[in-house]
């Protein structure tokens, strides 16, 4: 799997390269700013790009903006955004157009090596990976009245769904059976007035689209 990295911290860039290469990924290019990222992606056509949110010159949300351009110009390239802090507003921007092949994680998650690599693989394969902290922000945001109809357990399930986990992943996390999870999910869809859909990805898409459509 070929990856392009955009990260301005030299230390972290080197660390990520080492981590990915020891784990069987191929790092096609590693750059230090947003413009370089767009050029590197155009040149190397990677499966996924790992993008830092804060980058030169402004050190604000260059990464988010670059990711948005990337998704428009190279929709086939998945984007995993890494940030020192997560903000639901950035997530909403990122997910507004398309929720496949997108990830948004706290940089801290890199420390959990296997979890991070799982998320990267999921995103590169066209799935979704959202930081639990973003998910809780998305779920708690205002105007989300329909969510108040959910039971605490259903909210937990929805949060795990939004992170991009499968039924079995959710069942394992909550230590219940898969059939119980399936029942919860059906309840959630019913309470949120969502049509039935198949597969992890479409389900996440539906949930996020619901959350997102609410904010505008």
């Amino acid at each position: 799997m070929r990856i392009v990295i955009a990260e301005d911290s030299v230390l972290l860039r080197a660390g990520l390269i080492k981590l990915l290469e020891t784990s069987g990924f191929e790092v096609a290019a590693a750059v230090g700013e947003a413009d370089g990222l767009l050029a590197a992606v155009a040149e190397h056509r990677p499966d996924a790009a790992i993008v830092d949110v804060r980058m030169p010159p402004g050190f604000t949300d260059e990464g988010v903006r670059a990711a948005l351009v990337l998704r428009k110009e190279h929709p086939e390239v998945s984007v995993l955004l890494l940030s020192q802090y997560v903000e639901e507003r950035y997530a909403a921007d990122l997910l507004a157009t398309n929720t496949s092949g997108v990830g948004y994680l706290l940089k801290d998650r890199v420390a959990d090596v296997s979890g991070f690599l799982d998320a990267l693989r999921r995103v590169a394969a066209g799935g979704t990976a959202l930081d639990p902290e973003v998910v809780s922000q998305l779920l708690l945001r205002r105007n989300s009245d329909p969510l108040e109809r959910l039971t605490p357990r259903e909210r937990e399930v929805l949060a795990l769904m939004a992170e991009g986990r499968s039924n079995s992943g959710i069942a394992a996390a909550l230590v219940v059976s898969e059939s119980a999870i399936a029942k919860h999910i059906n309840n959630i869809f019913a309470k949120l007035d969502l049509p039935h859909a198949e597969g992890d990805h479409r389900r996440v898409l539906a949930v996020l689209r619901f959350l997102d459509g609410d904010s505008t």
Binding site: L11, E87, V113, Q137, R142
Partner: protein
């Protein structure tokens, strides 16, 4: 006592005393300046009577030129005279130094210029008349007292010759002495009048000075507050781009070690595991600390985005309403953010509440922040709940801070922040 102080007064105003000469020189030196000021305004009209209708406009404008060119330099000369002769310091007008004469034309409507004109045109000429009277009084006094000295030189048939008119000469000499004794009082009076007039009309207006000073101080304080805010953002950046990156890198290496070095002795692996967990906790603490300092998202996306971020982090349902059509300055936004953040921390820690309402509304030039919780109330400045720090920070931008918190609740904090600078 009374007689001695009267005697002293008599001595200070004796014709030969230093005070008398100072006052007299002061008054006399004022006369040409005062007349010049008056002439500057009126002379063009006196020496040239315009007849042609087209020229009349020019004729009317001439005094303006006189004012433009001379009002300020003459005022400066008067102030200089006060300082040089009496040691009375009248501060210059605020714009005196770098004002070109043409600026005067521009600010013909300013109160300041009209105060100058009032002196040059009305008060000055009156003082000049009094000054001339004083000069005349001195001359007459001297002439009369000394009449005996030159009376002998006059022809015998003069009405003042000593021969045959000794009584008349004696009376005139006496009158001269009276005039000489009285003139110092006239000089002192005119001098005092002039000084008062120069101070009030040619010096800076006290009210205006105070207003200006208040403006200056407000501006300086705003600079200090902005500087503190800027510093907070600088620290936030440094932590994000320095310490945090290195910590992430370290945690990642520990994580990699933990996953790959499975064949280590269990004790060694345990050390790595603990270090890894510890580093992740430090990262979480650091992230929360930085967000409390100054959230980067506040700068990028404004209050709405930053506040929904904190609302989501509070372990209570928070109803958040943000209606800010025009963004306030970054300092005001930072204060509003800090208010909500601290207030929510307080609610979580002390209020025992089940829900919180936060509203941030901009109405005109005021940003109003209200935080209401349904907790137990009884919050006060004394309880050490950080309310004092909140009020201080609100005060630093001239905001108002109100709290109502009856025992049993609910508690409402209302903060109003002015957005216009």
């Amino acid at each position: 006592m009374v007689s001695s102080s009267a005697a002293r007064r008599g001595l200070t105003h004796a014709p030969w005393s230093r005070a008398t000469w100072r006052d007299s020189v002061f008054v006399a030196s004022g006369v040409p300046l005062q007349l010049a000021g008056w002439a500057a305004v009126t002379l063009p009209w006196l020496v040239w009577a315009a007849s042609e209708v087209t020229i009349i406009l020019l004729w009317l404008a001439l005094p303006v030129v006189g004012v433009a060119l001379l009002a300020r330099p003459l005022a400066a000369a008067h102030r200089e005279r006060c300082w040089a002769v009496l040691g009375v310091d009248v501060p210059p007008l605020p714009r005196d130094k770098d004002a070109s004469p043409w600026d005067v034309l521009r600010d013909l409507r300013s109160r300041e210029l009209w105060r100058l004109i009032r002196y040059h045109l009305v008060v000055g000429p009156l003082i000049a008349v009094a000054g001339l009277a004083m000069v005349a009084s001195w001359l007459m006094g001297v002439a009369l007292t000394t009449v005996g000295l030159y009376a002998w030189a006059l022809p015998a048939d003069s009405p003042l010759s000593l021969v045959g008119h000794a009584v008349r000469v004696g009376l005139l000499t006496g009158a001269g002495v009276v005039v000489l004794v009285a003139t110092p009082f006239l000089a002192a009076g005119v001098a005092r009048w002039d000084v008062a007039a120069v101070r009030s009309l040619l010096g800076p207006d006290v009210t205006q000075e105070l207003r200006k000073r208040v403006e200056d101080l407000a501006e300086k304080r705003a600079e200090v507050v902005d500087a503190a805010d800027l510093e907070r953002r600088r620290i936030e950046r440094d932590l994000h781009d320095g310490v945090q990156q290195r910590l992430v890198s370290m945690a990642m290496n520990l994580g990699l070690a933990r996953e790959t070095l499975k064949d280590l002795p269990p004790e060694a692996l345990q050390v790595i595991v603990e270090a890894h967990e510890e580093s992740k906790e430090i990262l979480t603490d650091l992230r929360n600390f930085i967000r409390g300092l100054h959230p980067a998202v506040l700068e990028d996306r404004g209050l709405d985005a930053a506040l929904s971020g904190i609302a989501a982090r509070v372990p209570l349902p928070v109803r958040l309403e943000v209606d800010v059509a025009r963004r306030a300055s970054s300092t005001v936004e930072a204060v509003a953010y800090f208010v909500v953040s601290e207030a929510l921390t307080n609610v979580v820690k002390h209020a025992n509440a089940t829900s919180v309402d936060v509203a941030v509304l901009r109405r005109g030039d005021v940003l109003r922040v209200t935080i209401t919780d349904d907790g137990r109330g009884g919050a006060s400045f004394e309880a050490g709940t950080g309310l004092r720090g909140l009020a201080r920070r609100v005060n630093s931008v001239d905001g108002t801070f109100r709290i109502t918190s009856p025992r049993g609740g609910p508690t409402t904090i209302t903060v109003e922040l002015p957005c216009a600078l």
